[in-house]
């Protein structure tokens, strides 16, 4: 047992801290997290039975027939269910349910329809991006808009607009973007920025009220001139282009956003190089840190989508096998089918564990850190909303609040902490989404002719699942990000995203 006292041994890869996120987290977690999560899963399952499963095929079919159709009816149902403000902290007008429970919600919804799950989950990608700036004043204003949208029955969603026609993978990695051809120009003008450019593949674009837009004040050096802004639907100079015609996840629009001399006032600028100039790290590292904060949360969410679609495919295959005779014997009683079902069950379970571990990492070192600190958790859980609004919310309007939060999150976060959250998020993203696609393929294969039919659902799961390996960084990018954060750091001479021309 003496070896345990030797820190050097625990610094060896895999490092102790990186492989024990759950172990370190559980004792620190407020017990109420368990009850909240139970409630969320129960709510999600009821919603699945009532809304998702009965409508999933119809929405998919309708979008194929009417590509410009927008699923407002579903969004309104989700809004009434409280999904769009359920995980927003009470401080900002939301219900304040613990953020990791969002992943369970997304898994449940995705098991019925990952497009519908996306209609909820992508909103939180927008929220996470807004929160990644730790601009408390703007966070308070926009998230209270969301809460107000729930109260009035007029959904207020937030999207993230980052992908450009010529830059998809590049925009998620500072080492790549420095060599990329980005075109969304945010020109500094008196009182704000003037934005020109186009964003594509923006999930929920047409459905969202607010859009967290990433532009660049110098297109030649985007890595040190990144501007994160909030643009509202209806703003002058901002319009929607076409909706993409996707193979799957048809129910969730992927939109083109067009900016033509769109003026963004200073109060809607979440963060730019001017605001970040006094941070401890150089601006390029700060921009990467911000992206890592956001993606470490959102990629765990995509892991939950992958887990959900893996489960949906498994459940369809299980149901089919339980009801179908092949060669005179129920499929469920044929050993090969039992083994395939077990393999699928395993894929679901491991995918789930990956996003859970990723969320634990976020609780220890990432965006959830403060919210899961017991005093803060219980304060916001049990303090009446009116009291929060009266006593705490005004604090958000003070400049010092943003300064303190940024000090805590940007300057006090250690490099190995962001490596842990970013590495685990990438691992979960590609492991769970690969599992999702794999299970869908297995379900289609096991169901044969029925697996190919739209009315039997497995083929829809397969089409839906494939997108998960692409967005939030392709699974190839995420593998390299895992290498960068959890492998390459300990290998002398190892560099990610800097491959020499000669190697290919």
């Amino acid at each position: 047992m003496r070896a345990g006292g030797n820190p050097a041994l625990l610094e060896r890869e895999p490092r102790f801290e990186d492989i024990t996120c759950s172990l370190a987290s559980v004792p620190k977690l407020p017990r109420a997290v368990i009850k909240e999560t139970r409630d969320v899963i129960a709510i999600a399952r009821a919603f699945n039975d009532r809304v998702v499963k009965p409508r999933a095929l119809e929405l998919d079919r309708r979008k194929r027939e009417e590509p410009d159709y927008l699923p407002w009816d579903f969004v309104e149902e989700a809004n009434r269910a409280g999904f769009y403000s359920m995980f927003i902290p009470k401080l900002f007008g939301g219900h304040g349910i613990n953020m990791p429970a969002l992943s369970y919600l997304l898994e449940e919804l995705s098991s019925g329809c990952s497009a519908m799950s996306n209609l909820v989950g992508v909103h939180y990608l927008g929220i996470a991006t807004l929160c990644g700036s730790f601009n408390l004043k703007l966070m308070n204003r926009l998230m209270r808009d969301v809460a107000e949208g729930e109260r009035t029955g007029k959904p207020c969603l937030i999207s993230l607009a980052i992908t450009e026609p010529g830059a998809g993978t590049d925009v998620e990695e500072m080492d790549l973007i420095s060599r990329a051809k980005v075109t969304c120009h945010a020109k500094k003008v008196a009182g704000g920025y003037r934005v020109n450019g186009t964003k594509i593949f923006i999930s929920n674009g047409h459905l969202s009220t607010w859009h967290m837009v990433i532009g660049y004040s110098d297109l030649e050096r985007p890595e040190v001139n990144t501007v994160l802004m909030a643009v509202k639907t209806g703003d002058e100079g901002f319009s929607f282009g076409r909706q993409e015609h996707k193979m799957g996840q048809k129910g969730c629009p992927a939109s083109e956003l067009i900016f033509e001399d769109c003026f963004v006032p200073e109060e809607n600028v979440a963060i730019d190089d001017e605001q970040a100039k006094n941070f401890k790290r150089p601006i390029k590292e700060t921009n990467m840190q911000l992206i890592d904060y956001v993606l470490s949360v959102s990629r765990a969410g995509v892991g939950a989508f992958g887990t959900g679609v893996a489960r949906g495919a498994y459940e369809e295959a299980l149901s089919f096998a339980s009801e179908t005779e092949v060669g005179g014997t129920l499929l469920i009683n044929q050993e090969w089918a039992q083994c395939m079902l077990s393999e699928m069950y395993k894929n679901v379970a491991l995918a789930r564990l990956s996003y859970i571990e990723s969320n634990y990492a976020n609780g220890l070192h990432g965006m959830f850190k403060l919210l899961q600190w017991k005093p803060v958790f219980y304060l916001q859980k049990y303090m009446p909303a009116k009291m929060v609004d009266a006593l705490l919310a005004p604090f958000c309007e003070m400049k010092i609040a943003t300064t303190l939060f940024r000090k805590f999150y940007f300057d006090m976060q250690k490099t190995n902490e962001s490596q842990c959250t970013s590495g685990w998020a990438s691992l979960s993203k590609f492991a769970a989404t690969d599992a999702g696609v794999k299970n869908c393929q297995m379900a289609v294969e096991m169901m044969g002719q029925a697996g190919l039919r739209h009315d039997c659902r497995a083929e829809k799961h397969l089409r839906d699942s494939k997108l998960l390996q692409i967005y939030e960084g392709t699974n190839q990018l995420n593998r390299i990000n895992l290498f960068k954060n959890l492998i390459g750091r300990s290998v002398p001479g190892a560099r990610a995203f800097e491959e020499g021309e000669g190697t290919s």
Partner: protein, 378 residues
């Protein structure tokens, strides 16, 4: 022997390329919108004029009189552009192979009528199912040697467009199943709406509900499984050829895109991970090509174990096509997922083609059963 070395096959290949270039390249995305968009009947009519249907039907029956290698070549070329037309050719050919296997000349000549347009002259068949998995149609013998069929059957390919179907049914009181030819325009047949499927969307399928529909038995009663096995053994190579065509199309589009698309300041083809994926795709395509034509020649020459060669080729190449088209999307990233490009369609089509001839795991079990029971070498 290489297909390229045979002048007749070279000519067929060239003809298929020209046909596909002229008729499919610009329209395959629109055609894929069936049933929202109309069926590409005009293209099928031209395909019949060119001779892609009845390619392997004997010349004395007014067919093309060509061999399985020719069918494989035609299918892989067409599927490189649009696998749906391959599905139509395949299904029609599979139905006719069942009739040929029955050695029932009346059955074959009866359906090879040259009357009507291309669509009507096609034969519908449940191509995605081995009837041994189970069939819910029942047949009752009536006076005059004909039968009446009743029951429901799902996903009959080309039902709704063809005028005749070859369907499996169990004759009451007999073991095994039999095949029957059924007029789909006759009484007692209700054809459902086109089935919305994963892939091969312009190769339509529909559910049929039969209520005492008049039918003529194919060959001998209770011998359906033997006919299907014989037909499926030959057509395995053809299914593999379809998968190969899809693979070629996917690889070519991925390669072209990788040369154009830039990431991190250079074309993505110059990143080694993209090259590794492309290498996997290229190797699979080359291996699949060897398998398909080896199987095709094996079928045609009736080499020892040709049935297993054909079956193995369809299973192996079908799987390779699914893997390769998955990578084909991935190389294109978000664009690969969009209908504006061809990769997502190939991803769907590959999975659909893999399911031709029945449930894949069961086909594998049947493959090894033949080995275990000494019917064939592995």
């Amino acid at each position: 022997m290489s297909a390229k070395a045979d002048p007749e096959l070279s000519m067929l290949c060239e003809m298929a390329h020209q046909f596909a270039n002229g008729e499919l390249t610009d329209t395959c995305q629109d055609n894929d919108r069936f049933p929202i968009a109309p069926l590409f009947g005009g293209v099928l009519e031209k395909a019949r004029e060119v001779g892609f249907f009845d390619l392997t039907v004997p010349e004395e029956l007014e067919g093309g009189g060509m061999d399985m290698v020719a069918l494989c070549l035609a299918l892989q070329t067409l599927c490189r552009y649009d696998a749906s037309i391959g599905g139509v050719v395949f299904t029609d050919a599979l139905a006719k192979e069942v009739l040929v296997a029955s050695a029932d000349p009346a059955a074959l000549t009866g359906v090879l009528s040259r009357e009507g347009d291309a669509l009507e002259s096609l034969i519908a068949f449940p191509s995605y199912r081995d009837p041994s998995e189970g069939t819910s149609l029942t047949a009752i013998a009536v006076d005059g040697g004909s039968h009446r069929l009743s029951g429901d059957i799902e996903s009959v390919v080309l039902a709704g467009v063809a005028s005749t179907a070859v369907l499996p049914a169990v004759i009451e009181g007999r073991d095994g199943y039999s095949f029957f030819t059924v007029s789909l325009n006759g009484g007692g047949v209700t054809t459902g709406s086109p089935v919305q499927g994963l892939g091969l969307r312009a190769c339509p399928a529909a559910d049929l509900s039969l209520n005492g529909a008049q039918a003529a038995i194919v060959g001998k009663a209770g011998e359906g499984a033997r006919y299907f096995d014989a037909a499926a053994a030959r057509m395995g190579a053809a299914a593999a050829a379809m998968a190969l065509g899809i693979m070629k199309g996917s690889f070519e589009e991925a390669l072209e895109y990788a040369r154009q698309r830039r990431q991190g300041g250079r074309e993505i083809i110059n990143w080694s991970e993209v090259r590794r994926i492309l290498a996997d795709m290229a190797i699979k395509t080359r291996v699949a090509e060897m398998l398909v034509f080896e199987a095709g020649y094996s079928v045609e020459e009736k080499e020892e174990g040709w049935e297993q060669s054909s079956r193995a080729a369809s299973l192996a190449v079908g799987q390779m096509a699914c893997e390769l088209t998955d990578d084909g999307i991935q190389v294109l990233g978000g664009n690969g997922y969009m209908e504006d490009y061809g990769q997502e369609k190939r991803f769907r089509d590959a999975r659909q083609v893999q399911s031709l001839l029945g449930l894949v795991p069961r086909r594998k079990l049947e493959y090894v059963r033949r080995v275990v029971e000494g019917e064939s070498e592995y």
